[in-house]
Symmetry: C2
Subunit: 209 residues, 2 copies
């Protein structure tokens, strides 16, 4: 019993890795159940014994991508940096990760669940965890902002950088050279930080600290 469970776990892991390789090479549209079955040496039905459906499989791959991305952002950032510098460093790390793993990264945002299917809570939390990287330095930048404002602003600043990277790397829109792209990210993040820190609502008592 345990042996067969172990075997199933190992096969499931192999399936997720095969899916990761295919998405990493060809993007989401390259993912076919037939090829997955072939890659792990099982029948088509065997694939659906390991995961509920292809959406669930994609979410497991996304979870791994998000974990690596999160590690890259953590490694680039130290809490002894000035908040603006830390936010810039996180944003540049995001850009570099996206560039190095473009198809897996794009898949995070392009994947849509099939009709009438909802995202499991663990997958939502995986994704919302990205915004958390921004929250700590933002709290230091805006000591008077309340928790709700900080949450929302973290998402906003993350999303702004995400948009710059998404459109910046898009070959279809004539990609921006990498050095220029990183320069733009830094310019925008620093300008936004400067502007936010001056906003009365977020830091009016900063001078009194």
């Amino acid at each position: 019993m345990t042996k067969s469970l172990d075997r199933k776990t190992a096969q499931r892991e192999a399936l997720i890795e095969a899916a990761e390789r295919i998405i990493g090479a060809q993007g989401l549209q390259g993912l076919k159940a037939r090829d997955l079955a072939h890659a792990i040496g099982c029948s088509l039905g065997g694939v659906y014994n390991l995961v509920g459906d292809i959406d669930e499989l994609i979410l497991h791959v996304a979870s791994r991508t998000l974990r690596s991305l999160s590690e890259a952002m953590t490694a680039a950032s130290h809490s002894d940096m000035a908040p603006e510098a830390q936010l810039s460093a996180i944003a540049i790390a995001y850009c570099r990760f996206a560039q190095a793993h473009q198809p897996l990264w794009r898949a995070l945002f392009e994947h849509r669940m099939g009709r009438d299917k909802t995202l499991p809570d663990w997958a939502i939390n995986d994704q919302l965890g990205l915004f958390a990287h921004v929250a700590a330095p933002l709290r230091r930048l805006l000591p008077n902002a309340d928790a709700d404002s900080l949450n929302l602003l973290s998402r906003t600043l993350f999303s702004a950088v995400h948009g710059i990277v998404w459109i910046g790397l898009d070959e279809k829109l004539v990609a921006v050279p990498v050095a220029a792209l990183e320069g733009q990210i830094e310019t925008l993040v620093c300008a936004a930080c400067r502007g936010l820190a001056e906003e009365k609502a977020f830091s009016h008592s900063r001078g009194n600290a």
Copy 2:
């Protein structure tokens, strides 16, 4: 001869409109040549007499979407507004358009050309035209920035707003309520404008003007 050309033009227009309806209702993945042929009452081969391939058809739909989007941004913006206010108004108009036409808007950014196919120049220009809306107010905000910096910054600011809207409207990431989303766009745009205007490189002689 002219009559048959007119007929072909009209049929092509009907095909683009049918594709627009399908993408508008179901997104890019809903687009099937078979359904298009049925919608305009021709054979499958007939579809490919009217457009080179489905990629080209999608680009024609994108061109229409970009035209409406551009009109919406123009209508929301007046050059007698303060530059920050004008940039905010353009960004809010972008957000509202995206929300009202989500599948067509998402298709603009999700569509990838088939392997080894390049985007025609007209389609590139269509897309880059979006950034131009931001350039005029940005030029007024940063009177000392050179043309290259302004071009790049226009793309960056547009992309930042795009990212906030993309992730903000994403049901998968728990969409942000619309009023909050518009508030966040305004906060980010105004903070970035304030920060940029203080940047020496862009406006150091502003005080002397």
